[in-house]
Amino acid sequence: MKPNLSRQRSSSVCIAALLAASGCATTENNPQDPFEGFNRAMFAVNEGLDKVAIKPVAQGYDAVTPLPVKVAVGNFFGNIWDTWTALNNLLQGKGGDALSDVGRVLINSTVGIGGVFDVAGEMGLTKHSEEFGQTLGKWGVGDGPYFYWPLIGPRTTRDTFGWMVDTYYDPVWRVDNIPLRNSLVSLRYVDLRASVLPTDKVIEEAAFDKYTYIRDAYLQHRRNEIFDGDPPRIPVDY
């Protein structure tokens, strides 16, 4: 009986904390961000993690890795992802793009030596960026409330679900050899973090409230991606 009670208590504490957190949000004003209190807390956790662990590792990686190697790493993981891009383009009814993506994977996996060189890109087969969240968006699924997750970062509700499907599919996560899988996942993560190092300073200087700046940028960016880089222009109001 006793452990049960304490579990109950801890879960009610959790709920209370969540309520308090979302209570803070009522003073804020972005209708897309009803859980702002919770999100800000997670944002703070992530900023802390980034500062003490992720960013230093990414900086180290960035400093010791020559540019051609970084390009090769980016291409390698990009090539694996292109298969998923192709499938998502197909699901979105963009057969031509899907075909081009399949062509990219075939060419880069062979002539591009396992995806290390983006030969197809140089031949004019442009890389697309698609995942399941965008597919859902194309199908008309709305954004839903905005979330900020630890390690994963900003995602709308739809894109959180999309991310779960992406990860389920993700060939890198499906590698059987666990140590190899973990190394690959980590390398990909660090390489991604390193690639956005130059924007850190810009955001640091430009943003008054980093949380809001990143949230609003993410929401604008997603809208742009769902419309494949050509979103209808929002009429300006003064």
């Binding site: 004003n29 972005n30 540019l67 970084k70 390009v71 090769a72 980016g74 291409n75 990009g78 983006d118 442009t126 890389k127 960026s129 690639s195 130059p198 300073k201 810009v202 200087e205 430009a206 943003a207 008054f208 409230d209 809001t212 700046y213 949230r215 609003d216 940028a217 604008q220 960016h221 997603r222 809208r223 742009n224 991606e225 880089g229 979103p231 222009r233 300006v236 109001d237 003064y238």
Partner: protein, 201 residues
Amino acid sequence: MKSLLSLLFGLLLLCGSAIAEERSPDALVRQVTDDVLTIVRQDKDIQSGDTRKAIALVDTKVLPYFDFQRMTALAVGRNWGKATPEQKKRLTEEFKKLLVRTYSNALTSYKDQTISYKPSKMEPGETDVVVKTEVVQPGSKPVQLNYALEKHADGWKVYDVIVAGVSLVTNYRSSFSQEVRDKGIDGLIQMLGDRNKQLEK
């Protein structure tokens, strides 16, 4: 025959000068970008992070083609109408400083990217267009870099810069309106001024 030729020649000249005055927004963006990148490619100081030098470059090459009053109005949103002319002036000055700084900083992280220009569809007589470009860099997907321009009496002026779908101007809306709600327009001027002072150090 001769007179016909000279007439044609004269017409050509006329058209030529008309084109020079009415430079298309595409041509404007392309020329300014080329001018700036030519300098950055040769300037080791800017490449190694000399923001001051980058700002000087942006001041002379880019600023004349930007409409900062419009940009500030866009960023401030609804509250812009409530500001006095003096407040508008000061807001514009401070926001301009901040944007120039951000833009210049982005220049100092230039490595070996190139810009590709997308064809833009423009109807004749249009006064508001988006010029699309892409920043191409080895090993990653090209990043969209778009400019929104409006036609003025003295030529086209940029009023928004959109990177990967994110407007560098409207992205300030939430934090600006929050500040105006808490501390009024003067509070916003103060906030911008403080940040600029802090960055100058």
